[in-house]
C-alpha cells in the first residue's frame, strides 16, 4: 500500500512539473497593462517641426462603457509581434477612452476557429472587435457584413476587397466601396517603405563608417509574397542610395511561399544569411523575416557586420547578447495604430476601409541607436530628421512608382 501511494505521489509530482512548465510562461492577464512600452520615438528622429499632427490631438472622446475584444492569429499573445502589439494597442486605446474593464483576447488554436472566435465576442455584445493578421481577413469582413452595429478593426488586412453588398469577395474583383458598403470595418496598414527608407539611411552611413567599407549593404526578406516585406526592402534601397548613390544593395528572400521557413525558422534564417554574407560581403544586413530574421541577425553578428532589426526595436526586444551588432530597427507602430483607431471610433472620426499609418500619424520610425550611438555623427541624425520631415510633408518618394510591394 505504501508503495502504491508513493507511486501515485511521484506521478502527481511529475505531472505538476510538466504542466507547470507548459503553463507558467503563458498566463498573460489581460488586466495588466504595465507602463505600455511607448512606441520608441527614437531620439535620432525627434518630432520634426512639421509634425504637430504626428500624434493625434489628445481630445479623446470618453466612452467608458465600450466593450473591446481582440481576436489574434494563431500562436501566443506574447509573441513580440502583431499579436502582442495589437493587443497592447487595444489596451492603450481602451485606457485612453476611459474603459476600465479589462480588454479580453482570444487566441485561436487553428485556422478553422477564426469565425467562431469572432462570433464569441459578437454573442457577448462587444462594441469593437479587433482582429489581427491577414489570415483573418475573410472571417472579419464576413462578421462585419453580418453585424453592422459592431465596429471591426483589422490589422494588416489591406487592401480591403469586398462585394458591393459588403460581403467578402472570394474572387477579389473588389467592386464594393468600403465607405458605403461596409462602413463598420477599418483595415490598418503601414508605410513599411518609409521605415525601410530610414533604416537604409542608417545602413549607408554605417557602411561609410566601417573599417574597410565594401560599399555593399544587404537585406533578407522572409518571402517574396509578403508585400510589406518587399516594401521595407524597396524603401531601404532608396534610403541608402539617398546617402550614397553608388552603394550596392543586395537583397534576397528566404522562400517564395508562406511556409515556416519564411517567418518561423531562425536556424534556417541563420544558414541562409551565412551563405548570403559569404557571397555578397555586405557591411550591414537588414532582416525582414520575423523569427527567421532573428537567425539572420545572429549570422550578421557572428560575421562581425552590423544588423538592422524590423517591426519593433529589436535591440530592446532581443536584449543582450543577441543585440550586440544591431544598430537600429525599422519600426512600424502597430500598437499606436490600433490605439488611434479605437480612439477614432470613440470620437467618431475613424474612416472605413484602408487606413494608412505612416510618418504623418506616428505609424513608422527608425529605432534608437542605443549603444551604437557613438558610430553615428550628427549628420546621420540630420539626414534622418530631414527624411522624416519630407515624409510627413508627403514629398519624399520611398517606394518605386511601379511595382511597389512586388518583389523583382
Amino acid at each position: 500500500m505504501r508503495i502504491r501511494t508513493r507511486g501515485f505521489g511521484m506521478l502527481a509530482g511529475i505531472a505538476l512539473i510538466v504542466s507547470a512548465c507548459s503553463g507558467s510562461p503563458t498566463p498573460v492577464p489581460p488586466t495588466v497593462a504595465p507602463s505600455v512600452s511607448a512606441p520608441s520615438v527614437a531620439p535620432s528622429t525627434p518630432p520634426a517641426s512639421v509634425a504637430p499632427s504626428s500624434t493625434p490631438a489628445p481630445s479623446f472622446a470618453q466612452k467608458p462603457g465600450l466593450k473591446i475584444g481582440v481576436v489574434t492569429d494563431i500562436g501566443t499573445l506574447d509573441d513580440k509581434g502583431y499579436n502582442e502589439f495589437s493587443f497592447k494597442g487595444a489596451q492603450d486605446g481602451a485606457t485612453a477612452i476611459g474603459v476600465t474593464d479589462p480588454v479580453p483576447s482570444i487566441v485561436p488554436k487553428d485556422a478553422s476557429e477564426y469565425a467562431a472566435d469572432i462570433q464569441q465576442f459578437v454573442s457577448q455584445k462587444f462594441d469593437v472587435i479587433v482582429t489581427v493578421g491577414f489570415n483573418l481577413t475573410t472571417p472579419t469582413v464576413d462578421a462585419a457584413h453580418k453585424n453592422p452595429n459592431i465596429k471591426f478593426i483589422g490589422v494588416d488586412q489591406s487592401p480591403e476587397c469586398i462585394l458591393p453588398t459588403g460581403a467578402p469577395d472570394p474572387n477579389f474583383a473588389c467592386k464594393g466601396v468600403p465607405a458605403t458598403a461596409l462602413p463598420n470595418y477599418t483595415s490598418l496598414y503601414f508605410a513599411e517603405d518609409q521605415a525601410g527608407y530610414l533604416a537604409g539611411i542608417v545602413a549607408a552611413y554605417a557602411d561609410k563608417g566601417a573599417a574597410t567599407p565594401t560599399g555593399v549593404i544587404g537585406a533578407i526578406g522572409g518571402t517574396t509574397l509578403c508585400a510589406p516585406c518587399v516594401r521595407y526592402i524597396q524603401g531601404y534601397t532608396l534610403g541608402a542610395q539617398s546617402v550614397n548613390p553608388s552603394i550596392t544593395v543586395k537583397s534576397a528572400y528566404v522562400t517564395h511561399d508562406f511556409s515556416n521557413a519564411a517567418f518561423n525558422d531562425p536556424a534556417g534564417g541563420k544558414a541562409f544569411a551565412q551563405t548570403f554574407i559569404q557571397a555578397n560581403k555586405p557591411d550591414v544586413l537588414f532582416q525582414v523575416a520575423g523569427k527567421t530574421g532573428n537567425g539572420v541577425l545572429e549570422a550578421a553578428c557572428a560575421a562581425n557586420i552590423y544588423g538592422i532589426g524590423v517591426d519593433v526595436d529589436q535591440w530592446a526586444s532581443l536584449g543582450a547578447p543577441a543585440n550586440a551588432c544591431i544598430i537600429t530597427s525599422a519600426e512600424k507602430h502597430v500598437e499606436s495604430a490600433v490605439a488611434q483607431a479605437i480612439e477614432g471610433i470613440a470620437a467618431g472620426t475613424l474612416t472605413a476601409g484602408d487606413v494608412l499609418f505612416n510618418a504623418k500619424n506616428d505609424g513608422i520610425s527608425a529605432a534608437d541607436f542605443h549603444d551604437k550611438a557613438s558610430l553615428f555623427g550628427p549628420e546621420v541624425t540630420t539626414a534622418l530628421n530631414t527624411a522624416m520631415a519630407a515624409m510627413q510633408a508627403g514629398t519624399l518618394v520611398t517606394c518605386p512608382a511601379t511595382g511597389c510591394g512586388v518583389a523583382p
Binding site: 505538476l16 510538466v18 507548459s22 507558467s24 498573460v28 494563431i74 488554436k109 487553428d110 464569441q120 491577414f134
Partner: protein, 387 residues
C-alpha cells in the same frame, strides 16, 4: 475461426453486474479527467501567484471552469459549436484508434488531416459551381483518397522495408505542412489576393443541418464511429486486424497476412484522418489560408487513448475535447485565462492515461481490460500481452 489469440472480452466478465462493468470501463477515464481538472485548478492558482499586478482571486479557477462549461453548453448555438469542434476529433480519434487496434501507432493523423483538406479544397474549388450533391460527394471522396494515400505510404514502407511507422508518419507530417504552404501560396492562391488564400469551395461546402454552424459532417462522424465499430468487431477483416495487433506471429500462424493488413490499416486510418480534414474544410473554413493548420492530429491521439481505442468510446472522448475547444473562447473572455490552459488539461489527461496502470492499481481494478495500454505503447509489432 478457431484462432488462438482472443482479444475479445473474456467470458467471465459477462457474469458481473452491469454497474460493475460500467465502473470497470469508465473508472479510469473519469478519474483521469477529474484529476486533470484539479491539476488545472492548481496551475491557475499557481500562475496567479507568479503573475504580479493582478489581484489574487482564490475562485478564479472556478470562474474559468464555469466559463468553459458555459462556453461549451451555455446555449443551443454553443452546444452545436461544441459538436462542430468535436467532429474532426471523432474522425481523427477513429483513425488513431483503428491503427492502435492493429498495433500501429499512427502519429501521422496530422499530416493526413492536412493532405485530406488539400484534396477536398482542390476538388471543391474545381467543382464550386457544379450541382451541390456532385460537388460535395466528389470533394469528400477526394479528401478521403488524399488522406488514404498519405496513410498508405508509411504502411507500405513498413510492410516492405520495416520502416517504423512512427518515424515515417512524423516525417510525412512535415512534408504535408510544406506541401500545403507551397500550394496555397502558389498554384491554389487566388491570383489577385494580397495574401495567400484559395478560392471558396462554393457548392461543395457541407450543408448546414443544425443551427447556424452545425454542418452535416457531425452526422457523418456518428455514422463513421458506428461503421468503424462494425468493421472491427463484426467483420473478418476487423478480426484479423485485431489479431495482428494482439499477436502478429500467432496471426501469421493462423494464416493471416500481417503485411497486407498493415498496409490496409494505415491506408484506412489515413483515409479517416483525411476525412477529418475534409470535414473542417468543407464544413467550417470553406477556403484555405496558409495558416490552415491544426492540432487535431495530435489531439486525436489523446482522444483515442481516452476512448481506449473503442470506436464508440471515441464519440464521448471527442466531445470532451471539443467542449474544451468550444469553451476556451468564453474562458478567455470571462476569466482572462489563456487558451493554453486547455493545452495543459489535454496534456495532463494524456499523462494520466499513460500512467493509468498506476491508477488502476489504486482503484484495485486489476482485472479490468487494459484496453489501449496493451496495444498502444509498444508501437512495434508483437505489442502487448492480451489480458
Amino acid at each position: 475461426m478457431s484462432a488462438p489469440p482472443s482479444p475479445a472480452p473474456a467470458q467471465a466478465r459477462s457474469r458481473r453486474s452491469l454497474g460493475a462493468r460500467a465502473w470497470a470501463v469508465l473508472a479510469v477515464p473519469a478519474l483521469v479527467v477529474i484529476l486533470s481538472l484539479l491539476l488545472g485548478a492548481v496551475v491557475i492558482l499557481g500562475s496567479e501567484l507568479i503573475v504580479t499586478g493582478r489581484k489574487f482571486d482564490p475562485w478564479l479557477w472556478f470562474t474559468a471552469y464555469a466559463a468553459l462549461v458555459q462556453g461549451a453548453y451555455g446555449s443551443t448555438d454553443a452546444v452545436i459549436q461544441t459538436l462542430v469542434y468535436s467532429t474532426p476529433l471523432v474522425f481523427g480519434g477513429l483513425a488513431v484508434a483503428f491503427g492502435f487496434k492493429a498495433g500501429l501507432f499512427n502519429i501521422g493523423a496530422q499530416g493526413q488531416f492536412l493532405v485530406g483538406a488539400l484534396g477536398a479544397v482542390i476538388v471543391g474549388v474545381a467543382l464550386a459551381d457544379a450541382p451541390a450533391p456532385i460537388a460535395i460527394v466528389a470533394a469528400t471522396i477526394a479528401g478521403i483518397v488524399a488522406g488514404g494515400i498519405w496513410g498508405f505510404v508509411p504502411g507500405f514502407l513498413k510492410a516492405v522495408s520495416g520502416a517504423h511507422e512512427v518515424v515515417s508518419t512524423i516525417m510525412l507530417n512535415y512534408v504535408a505542412v510544406q506541401l500545403l504552404a507551397a500550394l496555397v501560396s502558389g498554384p491554389l492562391k487566388v491570383p489577385k489576393s494580397p495574401s495567400p488564400v484559395t478560392y471558396d469551395v462554393g457548392n461543395a461546402a457541407f450543408p448546414i443541418v443544425i443551427g447556424a454552424t452545425g454542418h452535416i459532417g457531425i452526422i457523418l462522424a456518428i455514422v463513421a464511429a458506428g461503421f468503424v465499430w462494425w468493421l472491427l468487431f463484426r467483420t473478418t477483416w476487423g478480426f484479423e486486424i485485431r489479431s495482428v495487433g494482439a499477436n502478429p506471429d500467432a496471426a501469421r500462424y493462423a494464416g493471416m497476412r500481417p503485411k497486407l493488413l498493415i498496409v490496409a490499416t494505415m491506408t484506412f486510418s489515413g483515409a479517416l484522418a483525411g476525412l477529418a480534414g475534409t470535414s473542417v474544410l468543407l464544413g467550417v473554413s470553406h477556403s484555405m489560408t496558409s495558416s490552415f493548420g491544426t492540432t487535431v492530429g495530435f489531439d486525436s491521439i489523446a482522444v483515442a487513448l481516452l476512448a481506449r481505442s473503442n470506436p464508440l468510446g471515441v464519440l464521448p472522448a471527442a466531445v470532451l475535447f471539443g467542449s474544451m475547444r468550444a469553451g476556451a473562447g468564453l474562458m478567455q473572455i470571462n476569466a482572462g485565462i489563456p487558451v493554453e490552459l486547455v493545452d495543459v488539461l489535454q496534456a495532463t489527461i494524456l499523462l494520466f492515461l499513460v500512467a493509468s496502470p498506476v491508477l488502476r492499481r489504486l482503484l484495485r481494478l486489476r482485472n479490468v481490460e487494459a484496453g489501449i495500454t496493451t496495444a498502444a505503447p509498444s508501437p512495434g509489432l508483437g505489442a502487448g500481452t492480451a489480458p
